[in-house]
């Protein structure tokens, strides 16, 4: 059986890292969780460069990418990953504290798989992180004005 793909968490805020890890921990996921503290490091991991040159792990199952990051920010990481045919298939979930819609629009334009505004309420936050797949279906922020009106029925 192939080894489980790791989950790559790109987050600079230690509180968010701790809370996210707590949530993932309670979900009893067996996947390894790799933490990168900024966008540059995340790209190094994804492209096996620098400190991650000799990593043995497979490509991440999902990248949980914070939008505001030191050095290379989340949107730049997203742009790079989604603009590259070799990495385009890696699912990227954008996590952000911001509720500004322009970021949502830009993220979707760059090809993000899901966009999650971190809920203030802990239950929701926990649930979101825990069931990341269900979370996409439930709490995923649709692009504004994308579909416009709901279809009948």
């Amino acid at each position: 059986m192939a080894a489980l793909k790791p989950i790559l968490l790109v987050e600079d805020n230690p509180n968010d890292i701790e809370l996210t890890l707590a949530a993932l921990e309670s979900s009893q996921l067996a996947n390894q969780i790799v933490i990168c503290r900024d966008g540059a490091e995340a790209l190094d991991f994804i492209y096996r460069r620098g400190p991650h040159e000799n990593r043995q792990l497979q490509d991440p199952a999902v990248v949980l990418l914070d939008l505001k990051l030191p050095k290379v920010d989340g949107l730049e990481v997203l742009e790079k990953v989604k603009g590259d045919p070799t990495t385009r298939g890696i699912p990227v979930v954008m996590l952000t504290s911001s509720r500004e819609e322009m970021d949502v629009v830009r993220s979707y334009n760059l090809g993000v798989n899901a966009f999650v505004v971190k809920p203030v309420a802990f239950d929701e936050f926990f649930a979101a992180i825990k069931e990341i797949g269900v979370f996409w279906a439930l709490l995923n922020e649709p692009p504004p004005h994308r579909g416009g009106w709901p279809s009948n029925g």
């Binding site: 504290s97 971190k118 203030v120």
Partner: protein
């Protein structure tokens, strides 16, 4: 029969001269005769050199060519005596250049006049100039001119005649010996002097017909070497139009002379002299009259300029006062409206109006607002790019104004904004005048008795014919029109300055909007995160260490969670409120029912288990709105309805659509919840306004503010009705659009 036929008669190439002199057209440079009038002495004929027959003339011509040959118009050169044997005749020689030709005209001189050189007239000219300086008015100047011209020429009657804007002429001054009737104050219609004759008057200032019964002398051959008829515009002997000769005969005069009065190069009027019997005036005397007239014209121009300058100074004072008033006020219009007397004095008007697209303000004696609007609309429609419009007879161009001619026959209007179609309009009342015409000015075409085409004949009668002139105001003077133009410039300057200030303000506003956006962003990002962390850690604490905490400790932790949660929610709500104002609406047509259903499903997720909620959703139809924004409205209203009806055994929530009112679609959301006291209805939609204690109903108090803001941005209205304890109805409207129906 076309009246303009008269205008087309080619009077400058008539091909003949009057018989009191003869003409040579000479080829340059060897002065070969190429054309001659039939009455020229046979001593020299066409094809020969002038020198061979008339060495003296040839010498004179050569001197002329060496000297002032480029001067405009025929120039008197000298008097020569020609002839052979016993028949000797003195001639006054005049010359002018015409392309490659030299035209020499020899006019018979009477012996007496040979001696009367310019020197003999000198004292008279000197005296004239002195009296001109002393003259107080234009009328006085004209009288002096008429008097002196008659004195020099000895005609029976001399008139000074002035053209008005329509080229009708009025006799301003007259001097006569009583032989001919007085024409003083009479008007002569423009058709008496057709356009091409006026142009000839401008180019050649002096004309004389010594004997209206003359037989024209043809010029031979008929054309110049270039193949064209000889242009006689500058000629002193030019034969005149048969129509003109007929006109003279009808007038009872056999000799006439006229001198053009040019002011700043334009034909201002004429000095017109008549004699009952044929009469010759020596070239010298005519030149003296021309000279006199030119001095008169200079003096006239100076006087008019002086009068205008005086008027300008007077109006300038009014204008600078108005400018000050306008600058003081927020709107230039107020500056004008608060000082009606100066507005009227500026152009000596009796009424004025300031008309913009949505307002019409009247000052003094004006037509009614509706009539002024009609004038304004007409001005706007006619004058694309017309800065100033003036007329002394409005009804001539705008017939409906005849109905209020007593208030607005004269109109002077300046446009102050093309974009917003605004005018300042001044009015002058009708001044009824009686005009005495020199005969009925309506010309009649008469059939030619010989069966030729109809021909226009000059009128036969010069009997005084009175006309009452209506629908006319006193004309606007040049300085008045200029004062209006200047006021326009001032207004535009002020308006422009205001526009710049506004632009600066809007730039500032844009900048602060950008700052607000940046602020919102950082609030959204940096303030939400700590609240999230507080909630998160408190939860971890409660879940993992709860067992170790005291009852009080757990209560504290729960309070921390609640407080941080509500702070975080507040930040979210504030942000969406600010987004409402910043984001552009993206409206299109959609099904309101589908939207409500989607939102209903979403808000029902938060309904506590065990609650009974009955939804009554009517037919909602289509609507034209921004679906993203409208979703927020529905979400707020439905979650409110759920929230405030949660203590009912059965919550009933109705969503419906009322028949359209005043072009608006009307929707309502009704619940049977706690309701509210109508005394506080005005506070309901305010930001952070709550009508309930926070421990009874959670919420930040922004939801309804968002509802109103979104609805108003769509151009609709939102309001509420409630009864304490019995429920509330929230209604909002959206403007209808045809395709949304």
């Amino acid at each position: 029969m076309d009246l303009s036929l008269c205008d087309r008669e080619p009077i400058h190439i008539v091909g003949s001269v009057q018989p009191h002199g003869f003409l040579f057209a000479l080829d340059l440079p060897d002065l070969t005769i190429v054309q001659a009038s039939a009455n020229a002495p046979t001593t020299a004929s066409v094809g020969e050199r002038l020198e061979d027959g008339f060495p003296e003339l040839a010498a004179t011509a050569k001197r002329y060519l060496e000297g002032a040959a480029d001067s405009d118009g025929a120039l008197y050169l000298r008097t020569v005596t020609l002839g052979s044997g016993s028949t000797r005749q003195a001639y006054e020689v005049a010359a002018h250049r015409l392309d490659d030709l030299l035209v020499l005209e020899m006019e018979e001189a009477e012996d007496a006049s040979v001696e009367a050189g310019l020197d003999a007239l000198n004292p008279q000219l000197r005296a004239f100039v002195q009296r001109l300086h002393a003259a107080a008015s234009v009328e006085d100047l004209c009288h002096l001119l008429a008097k002196d011209v008659r004195h020099i020429t000895g005609f029976d009657r001399a008139l000074v005649y002035r053209f008005d804007r329509d080229w009708h002429g009025t006799v301003l001054a007259e001097d006569g010996n009583g032989v001919l009737p007085s024409y003083l104050d009479l008007r002569f219609p423009a058709s008496d002097i057709p356009a091409q004759a006026r142009e000839l008057y401008r180019r050649n200032r002096l004309r004389i017909i010594p004997d209206a019964a003359y037989a024209p002398v043809p010029i031979r051959p008929a054309t110049t070497p270039a193949g064209k008829p000889l242009d006689l515009s500058q000629s002193v002997l030019r034969s005149v139009s048969p129509v003109h000769v007929e006109y003279m005969r009808n007038m009872g005069t056999m000799a006439s002379m006229s001198i053009s009065i040019l002011v700043d190069g334009a034909l201002w009027g004429l000095v017109s002299c008549h004699n009952q019997n044929p009469k010759r005036v020596p070239l010298q005397a005519r030149n003296a009259c021309d000279f006199l007239t030119q001095i008169f014209a200079l003096q006239l121009a100076a006087k008019v300029r002086g009068e205008h300058a005086e008027q300008r100074i007077a109006l300038g004072a009014v204008q600078s006062r108005l400018l000050g008033f306008m600058a003081e006020e927020d709107s230039f219009v107020d500056g004008l409206l608060n000082h009606p007397e100066d507005v009227l004095a500026l152009v000596n008007a009796s009424g004025a109006a300031v008309v913009t697209a949505d307002r019409c303000r009247l000052l003094g004696a004006t037509p009614t607002e509706r009539e002024v609007r009609a004038i304004h609309d007409w001005l706007t429609a006619r004058g694309a790019g017309e800065e100033v419009f003036s007329t002394e007879a409005l009804a001539e161009t705008f017939p409906p104004s005849a109905a209020f001619a007593d208030r607005a026959s004269g109109v002077l209007a300046v446009s102050v904004s093309k974009r917003f179609a605004s005018h300042i309009i001044w009015f002058r009342p009708e001044v009824v005048r009686t005009v005495k015409w020199g005969g009925n000015p309506v010309k009649a075409a008469q059939p030619d008795p010989e069966g030729g085409p109809d021909r226009l004949h000059p009128r036969k009668s010069f009997e005084v014919w009175k006309e009452t002139l209506k629908g006319r105001a006193l004309p606007w003077s040049v300085p008045e029109i200029e004062a209006a133009k200047d006021l326009r410039a001032s207004v535009l300057g002020i308006v422009l300055k205001r526009a710049e200030e506004l632009a600066a303000m809007s730039e500032e506003l844009q900048r602060s909007n950008k700052e607000l956006e940046a602020f919102s962003y950082s609030v959204s990002h940096d303030l939400r995160a700590p609240f999230r962390h507080i909630v998160g850690y408190s939860n971890l604490l409660k879940n993992r260490e709860g067992a170790n905490l005291s009852e009080k400790g757990r209560h504290y932790v729960e309070t921390i969670i609640e407080a941080a949660l509500s702070a975080g929610t507040l930040v979210d709500n504030l942000l969406s409120f600010s987004q409402m104002g910043r984001h552009a609406l993206n409206k299109n047509t959609g099904e309101m029912g589908a939207l409500v259903e989607e939102v209903r499903r979403k808000v029902e997720r938060d309904v506590a288990p065990g609650r009974t909620v009955r939804w009554e959703i009517g037919a909602l139809g289509r609507v034209y709105a921004d679906p993203f924004m409208l979703r927020l409205v529905i979400e707020n209203l439905l979650s409110n309805a759920l929230k405030y009806s949660r203590d009912r055994p059965e919550a009933v929530i109705e969503v419906g659509r009322l028949p359209p009112q005043d072009g608006e679609a009307v929707f309502y959301v009704r619940d049977n919840g706690v309701g509210f006291d109508m005394a506080y209805v005005d506070k309901l939609f305010g930001v952070f306004q709550r009508l309930h204690r926070v421990e009874d109903f959670e919420g930040t108090g922004i939801g309804l503010a968002n509802v109103r803001r979104i609805v108003e941005r769509h151009g609709g209205r939102a309001w509420a009705e409630g009864t304490l304890g019995k429920g509330a109805t929230f209604t909002f409207t959206l403007p209808l659009r045809e395709e949304a129906q």
